[in-house]
């Protein structure tokens, strides 16, 4: 009776190991950004341009998970790239450009959300780059939980409310246009969007304790 169990567990371990070795983790990681690094050494301007070409879309995609707006996401990412060039950050020994950019975008998106929820915070904090280029280990997970929370709040909205909110924020449509699309009055659309924002605000504030705990401790 015991034998099959050991067999099973052995099997499990074996399966897992093959799965692990199947992943391309060690092979690519070493020279994934080598080309970029070399370009930065020779022509930083071209390096920045290439970096932008490579990560702009995915970074915007990621930022939008927090801010739910194409425009804001693009602003956050563009501003990050501009400061990256302006402040000559590429000259610093960056372990991985990708890690740096994602960390910075998450940080900026977080600041934007924090500002939205507590508008009394100075606006300047939105732009500020992360204090450390490498992020504390548990932070990465906190950011993930933050955008997941944002998403779940939106998912819990009534279909009409969610639709109005997404048309407004993500597609940046005018109230009149949304009203036409949803076949309701402009006033009703304003109410729907307002309700969505309020829900977002209260929902994030509730879980803010969790978020602030990790982010605000210097």
């Amino acid at each position: 009776m015991t034998l099959p169990i050991t067999d099973d567990s052995d099997d499990f371990v074996r399966v897992f190991q093959t799965e692990s070795s199947r992943s391309d983790k060690p092979a690519i990681e070493t020279d994934d950004e080598r080309l970029l690094r070399e370009t930065f050494r020779e022509d930083p301007r071209l390096g920045c341009s290439l970096l932008f070409r490579r990560y702009y879309l995915t970074l915007c995609n990621h930022a939008a998970r927090f801010v739910h707006s194409r425009e804001t996401a693009e602003d956050i990412v563009s501003d990050l790239f501009e400061s990256f060039w302006e402040q000559g950050l590429f000259e610093q020994p960056i372990h991985s450009y990708r890690s740096y950019l994602y960390t910075a975008v998450r940080h900026r998106a977080y600041n934007y959300l924090r500002w939205k929820i507590r508008p009394t915070d100075p606006l300047e904090s939105i732009r500020s780059a992360p204090v450390a280029h490498t992020i504390a280990p548990d932070d990465a997970m906190q950011y993930t939980e933050l955008y997941l929370k944002v998403e779940s709040i939106i998912q819990e909205l009534s279909p009409q409310c969610r639709r109005a909110y997404l048309l407004k924020r993500v597609e940046g449509k005018k109230y009149e246009e949304i009203a036409e699309e949803l076949q309701v009055t402009t006033k009703a659309v304003e109410g729907l969007v307002g309700r969505a924002l309020a829900r977002l605000r209260t929902g994030l504030k509730e879980s803010w304790f969790l978020a602030t705990m990790y982010f605000l401790i210097p």
Partner: protein
Amino acid sequence: MDQLINRQVLFDSFEGKATSLQRKLIEQWLEDADNRNYYYRCLDEWERSRPQLWIDQQRAQQQYDAFLTGETKRKTRALTDPETEVQTGARIRKVIIGSLAAALALLVLGFVFRAQFLYKTYESSNAHLTSILLSDSTEVTLNSNSILRVPRFGFGRNVRQVWLDGEAEFKVTHTRDNLRFEVLMGDGYRIEVLGTEFNAFSRARGKRVFLTKGKVKLNLPEGKPVYLAPGNYFTTEHKGSFKVVMPAEPLAITAWKERTFYFEDTRLTEVVEQISERFAVRIRIMDSGLGDRTIGGIYQARDADALLETLSAMFEMEIIRTSDEIELRIPQKQDL
């Protein structure tokens, strides 16, 4: 432990599908710098395969390249809150604030200039008398250098009110509905009548009321009101005290109406005050002995200079004009 974390587990965590145990494992695993880089590599891969926005990358790239070559400056972005609904809200708010500000400005202007709007002001300049017929047929003769303010749109239903700064003679009509007529003289002095004739005086020197006909109730800043009978002359003295007398010669009080000065054993200091009040000139008595000299008589005068010329002969005094005042002094005897 490292081998427990693979691409699929990370993807699950990005999607919120990771169990709490997995999340705990990932947190520990992330303590290693290489693992973190792998984490973001997976995140990038995950994002790449799950597009959720249509983004004009080409345009963005062109803008960034233009920035890199220095063709364009770094943009100041409205990161504050790019939500259009907030912007519209802000615009509406701006309009509302603008209108409120305009309304407020109008209110303030109205408040500041409410006197000009609601009241008509009559003013007698130097050496001029002004006769005014009010809407209730009350006659007012305004002495020179005096101001009378009356409601522009007629008296109300409760009271007929006017404001006086200076000196005026009132011939108040008695209305059928016994409407009170009030003269506000400032500093809390208020004359209250139904229909009478009186002379009211309100200047820096004090408040005075002389009643020729009828009955006057005079409200004081403090204490009981004073009732005046015809011939009574009310004058304030220092610090709120007052006296009511029956002047032997009431002409002295109303002489201004005939453009005359009525003096009877009057000290030069008092003469000078009367002149300066009526002609708005500043006269200074330079020698102390001079002010105590007295004078009597009726003097016709259209201006201060003419009167002073007349007086100088009687008082044996010298008149010296400076740029802004007239000095009176005892002439220096020239010893030969």
